[in-house]
């Protein structure tokens, strides 16, 4: 009798381990950047010829960095949430990081794009997309070759970072921001950091 308890116990332990393991989302890789200063960059601002911007410009503010691209289907899904968020106007700026506007698009054969044309074409596409879907961003910077994306550990667009007044990344969300994630996770954190 006793040993059946053992077997049952072992089975329950294994089942519990598997239940927890299978319940985890393998796409949610914890970012090592949380708690670290936001990596520096200096990228061209969309729509402002010759102007560049970096994270130090946002010092003293709690802000969101949202990585997007016009070819990214999930971005289209989350975009209304961001537009609504900016329209509600609680003063939290969102900076857009346009990630590999042309190179990331599987439909485009980059061998056929002249290098000098890439940046203007990317700007045109990004601006067109924002015009069509709404622009929730304080400004958008253009990461044409995805190098800044690598510094931020971007591996699946869209991604959203919450950055505090000292310029430290406090949260990273991979995948589209749903109203639920915005209300339950991002907004409380922003409120806490803004205090």
């Amino acid at each position: 009798m006793n040993r059946y308890f053992w077997i049952l116990g072992a089975f329950i332990a294994l089942a519990a381990l598997l239940a927890v393991g299978l319940g985890l989302n393998p796409r949610e890789v914890p970012s090592p950047l949380v708690g670290k200063p936001a990596p520096a960059f200096n990228l061209a601002v969309l729509g402002k010829e010759g102007e560049t911007m970096g994270p130090e410009a946002m010092r003293g503010k709690v802000w969101l960095l949202n990585v997007w691209a016009s070819w990214c289907v999930s971005c289209r899904q989350e975009h209304p949430v961001l537009v609504e968020f900016s329209r509600r106007g609680n003063g939290t700026p969102i900076v857009g990081l346009n990630y590999k506007e042309l190179r990331g698009d599987g439909e485009i054969d980059m061998r056929r794009v002249v290098p000098e044309q890439e940046a203007p074409l990317a700007r045109e596409r990004a601006a067109g997309w924002l015009k069509q879907h709404g622009d929730p961003y304080l400004l958008t910077v253009m990461d044409i070759d995805g190098r800044v994306g690598i510094d931020y550990g971007v591996y699946g667009v869209p991604e959203t970072y919450v950055i505090d007044k000292e310029g430290v990344i406090r949260m990273k969300h991979t995948g589209p921001v749903s109203p639920q994630i915005l209300n339950d996770k991002i907004l409380p954190l922003v409120a806490e950091l803004s205090r």
């Binding site: 090592p32 054969d109 890439e118 550990g153 591996y155």
Partner: protein, 159 residues
């Protein structure tokens, strides 16, 4: 506006002869040693887009970019450890196919050893209990039982 942009795109797609852009990987083996290092390093690294492939195997955009990054760092003369460190600070330990032993990976590394230990210990205790049980129940036959057993054996032999 949109038509204009599509037209612009089409024009730019048609005009030129195929001109390799930097997204595409430079021709391999300008330096075989560096290329070998790149191969070895990218086999150690996980592609985060297709998580069960290495950066060496994967054709995902990100893997191509990261191979380019590694190639650049090799050219700058950075050591293998520095390159792996570069990846870990950005993507975390998950990017390594051989994660380091840490508090959080203890179950991962120690789990199999712990399971083996549990198995050996329980086997030992089972064998011990069994031998006790055998010793307890293993009594010599009584006179009556011996007689019956011999009778049965005799019966078998006579057949």
């Amino acid at each position: 506006m949109k038509a204009l942009y599509i037209a612009g795109l089409l024009v730019s797609l048609c005009i030129l002869p195929a001109q390799a852009s930097s997204t595409y990987e430079a021709a391999v083996a300008t330096d075989p040693v560096a290329e070998k290092r790149l191969q070895a390093l990218s086999r150690e690294l996980r592609c985060l887009v297709c998580q069960n492939e290495t950066i060496a195997d994967s054709n995902a955009e990100l893997a191509v970019d990261l191979r380019r990054e590694i190639r650049g760092m090799i050219q700058e003369g950075r050591s293998d450890n520095e390159i792996l460190e570069f990846m870990v600070t950005r993507y975390g330990d998950f990017v390594l196919y051989r994660p380091p032993v840490k508090a959080i990976t203890l179950l991962l590394w120690g789990g199999p050893i712990a399971l083996l230990l549990i198995a050996v210990l329980s086997l030992r205790s089972y064998l011990k209990r069994r031998s006790i049980l055998v010793a307890k129940t293993d009594k010599p036959l009584s006179a009556e039982e011996t007689r019956r057993a011999e009778a049965l054996l005799k019966e078998l032999d006579s057949k």
